[in-house]
């Protein structure tokens, strides 16, 4: 029996602006449990804006459309409520937080999210055990825990730290924005394997990426091409390979031709 998971995320006609400039112009996307989606597209197409809108960044204004996350109106939830409900954004540019150790931050975030999900919180010793397995998953040195969050981290270390947070918080939907940038090939393999191991039939991953190489490790069920604030083409994993060799222009041309045809038919 083929099993289609529950719909986790349903985006319909989403429009959003930054400082009054429209960036998202009618975006549609459906993600079900158990799936991996990838959004690809040229710079400035709105990929990161989409991720930030989903996470609730205050600089982005939603101007229209609807997003339902696990059945609820996402925009009724504050950013922290979205996180507790199981939405996770791995930042393209993780923020440095000097003076807060990774260990303290991870434990506070974990316990906050656990508490909101009606589960038991962990004391520092218990959390220490819990975090060890997550560190191993990402081949991270425990010394990372004693450093301030992202402060002085290399680009690759920051990305690994984002996935560590994902591993700790066990989100239902993880959106990873350029998770592969700044990673050398070994680190890429480790991070990708870590993400893959965190997959279950009940959760889903949305990868936002410029390059196909990450998708060799985390094989997507759907690849979407974004341009000018919309998804203009959706295909399977082979679409990523085709984009890698042919670029994006042909997709845009095809989309424009399709619209022209549609318009002439009308």
């Amino acid at each position: 029996m083929t099993h289609t998971g529950n719909t986790l995320l349903a985006v319909r006609g989403l429009t959003a602006s930054v400082a009054g400039v429209p960036i998202l112009k009618g975006l549609d996307l459906t993600i079900r449990a158990g799936e991996v989606h990838a959004i690809m597209g040229p710079n400035g197409s709105g990929k990161s804006t989409f991720a930030k809108v989903l996470a609730g960044h205050p600089a982005y204004e939603v101007t229209g459309g609807e997003v339902r996350f696990r059945g609820s109106n996402l925009f009724d939830l504050a950013p922290e409520e979205r996180a507790r409900a199981g939405l996770f954004l791995g930042f393209q540019y993780p923020i440095e937080v000097p003076g807060v150790t990774n260990a303290a931050f991870l434990r506070l975030a974990y316990n906050t999210v656990q508490g909101a999900r009606g589960k038991d919180e962990l004391d520092p010793l218990e959390f220490d055990d819990y975090i060890q397995s997550k560190l191993e998953l990402l081949a991270m040195d425990p010394a990372f825990l004693e450093r301030s969050v992202n402060e002085g981290f290399s680009g690759g270390e920051k990305k690994r730290n984002e996935v560590l947070q994902m591993a700790v918080l066990e989100p239902t939907l993880a959106i990873l924005d350029e998770a592969d940038s700044g990673l050398d090939i070994d680190a890429l393999r480790i991070v990708a394997n870590g993400v893959s191991k965190l997959r279950t039939p009940d959760n889903a991953v949305l990868l936002i990426t410029h390059y196909q190489r990450l998708l060799n490790y985390i094989v997507p069920d759907y690849v979407h091409v974004m341009e000018a604030g919309r998804i203009i083409k959706t295909g399977g994993k082979d679409l990523a390979l085709e984009l890698e060799s042919r670029g994006y222009d042909w997709v845009a041309e095809e989309f424009a031709a399709g619209r022209a045809t549609a318009a002439s038919v009308v």
């Binding site: 205050p58 504050a78 950013p79 979205r82 954004l89 923020i95 807060v100 909101a116």
Partner: protein, 436 residues
């Protein structure tokens, strides 16, 4: 306030000074007499003085705070909370007077940690007269002149060549009497290659008004190293006016963390002179104030010789309707080539009524130097708040954590772990949920 009333104020602080018993040391009597003469000639500072523009002492001048009498009978149990788990030698001063019964001095080959009288008895006369009163200039500073005129007790720490103390020295100044003034004094002399950690700690057993008028002098010989912690946790109604003068000889290292928590009005003037080549200092400060407190830090780093290095980070967390003042001067004298200096003032305002005046100031007379400075005043960083919220933290929890972190950057530099932990608790207690 009239000039005459201000002058009367200094006389009041000096009342009874004439009956101070003469010291058998002629040089000490001479020092006091010089200082008394200056105190009689000087006017107290007012906001008309550039160095006191933002710090109005007229509430102090309106308060009668006669010199504190000696009071030896302090229940030791009352001091338990101030004990450092790591501390080695400890000197306790009650209302400015040294109390041997509460202290744990150390007099050993080449090491003296004791009151002034005991230090002089130990034949350390050589070091003490050479340095006492030499760095904290009282010729233009009325409060330092009053302090020096009263010089009878002092915390004296002398280290002979290459002597290094493993455990921190704790000098505890306890205020027990409301409505009085005291004149704490510290002298630290470290010879070539010696070093220690010194915790200078000002506390109170009550919440009323009093004046602490403190002077510290620190002389570091070639390659000597001092890690200095200065903790001002006076009552919130207290007046605290303090000067610290530091002189570094060749390759000496001075690392200082000063934390300001108490005081209705407090002023800390720190003066560091790089008198030898290659000296290094790191000066960090944190003022954590609220209510109607005013905390003023003035520092001067004077590079007079080549290859000196200085790092300064001063932070203020200002809540309520409190007011923080920072003025940081850095001089790089002609000939102080290859000086490497940086100074940063970072200020976090928790409320709309909180206020900061900050002024980093560089004066460079040499041409081959590296100097950086900057100041920021503001609220918490919105991107950091969002990042923490995106991990499930509430707005309040995110703000509390970031405020804590802002303070922790300085608190973590305190080389006495038990003190750092305790201060972290204080930060949490004082800032949690205090943002508007």
């Amino acid at each position: 306030m009239s000039q005459a009333a201000e002058q009367g104020y200094l006389e009041q602080l000096l009342r009874g000074q004439a009956s101070l018993p003469a010291s058998p040391r002629v040089w000490l009597n001479g020092l006091r007499a010089d200082a008394l003469e200056r105190a009689n000639a000087l006017a107290v500072p007012s906001t008309r003085d550039e160095d006191w523009r933002f710090t109005d002492l007229s509430p102090l001048y309106r308060t009668v705070l006669p010199p504190a009498a000696r009071r030896d009978a302090v229940e030791p149990g009352l001091l338990v909370d101030f004990a450092l788990t790591e501390a080695g030698p400890r000197l306790v001063f009650v209302d400015g007077h040294y109390v041997p019964a509460l202290s744990d001095p150390l007099i050993d080959a080449g090491v003296t940690v004791s009151g002034l009288a005991e230090a002089l008895e130990q034949g350390q006369d050589g070091a003490v007269p050479e340095h006492l009163g030499r760095y904290a200039d009282f010729h233009a500073d009325a409060f330092a002149a009053v302090n020096t005129a009263w010089l009878h007790d002092a915390a004296v720490i002398t280290l002979a060549r290459d002597r290094v103390l493993a455990r921190p020295v704790h000098v505890l100044f306890v205020s027990t009497q409301p409505g009085v003034s005291s004149t704490p004094r510290v002298l630290m002399v470290a010879q070539t290659g010696s070093g220690c950690t010194l915790v200078e700690d000002y506390v109170a057993l009550h919440e009323d008004a009093y004046l602490t008028n403190a002077v510290s002098e620190i002389a570091l010989g070639p390659s000597a190293r001092l890690r200095h912690v200065r903790l001002q946790r006076e009552s919130k109604a207290a007046y605290h006016i303090a000067a610290c003068a530091v002189r570094l000889q060749r390759d000496a290292q001075f690392e200082s963390v000063s934390v300001t928590l108490g005081g209705r009005i407090s002023r800390y003037s720190l003066n560091v002179t790089h008198a030898g080549e290659g000296g290094e200092c790191r000066i960090d400060g944190l003022a954590l104030i609220d209510g109607r407190q005013l905390a003023d830090t003035h520092s001067t780093l004077d590079h007079t010789r080549p290859d000196g290095r200085s790092r300064q980070l001063h932070k203020c967390i200002v809540g309520g309707a409190a007011h923080a003042v920072f003025n940081g001067k850095i001089f790089v004298r002609e000939g102080a080539q290859r000086t490497d200096s940086s100074q940063h003032s970072r200020n976090l305002l928790l409320t709309d009524k909180a206020h900061v005046d900050t002024k980093p100031q560089l004066e460079i007379f040499a041409d081959d130097v590296k100097c950086a400075h900057g100041a920021t005043v503001g609220q918490l960083d919105a991107d950091q708040v969002f990042y923490l919220k995106s991990r499930g933290l509430s707005e309040g929890a995110a703000r509390d954590l970031l405020t804590f972190a802002f303070a922790a950057e300085v608190v973590e530099r305190i080389p006495v772990p038990s003190l750092a932990r305790r201060l972290e608790q204080t930060v949490v207690h004082q800032t949690k949920g205090k943002q508007t």
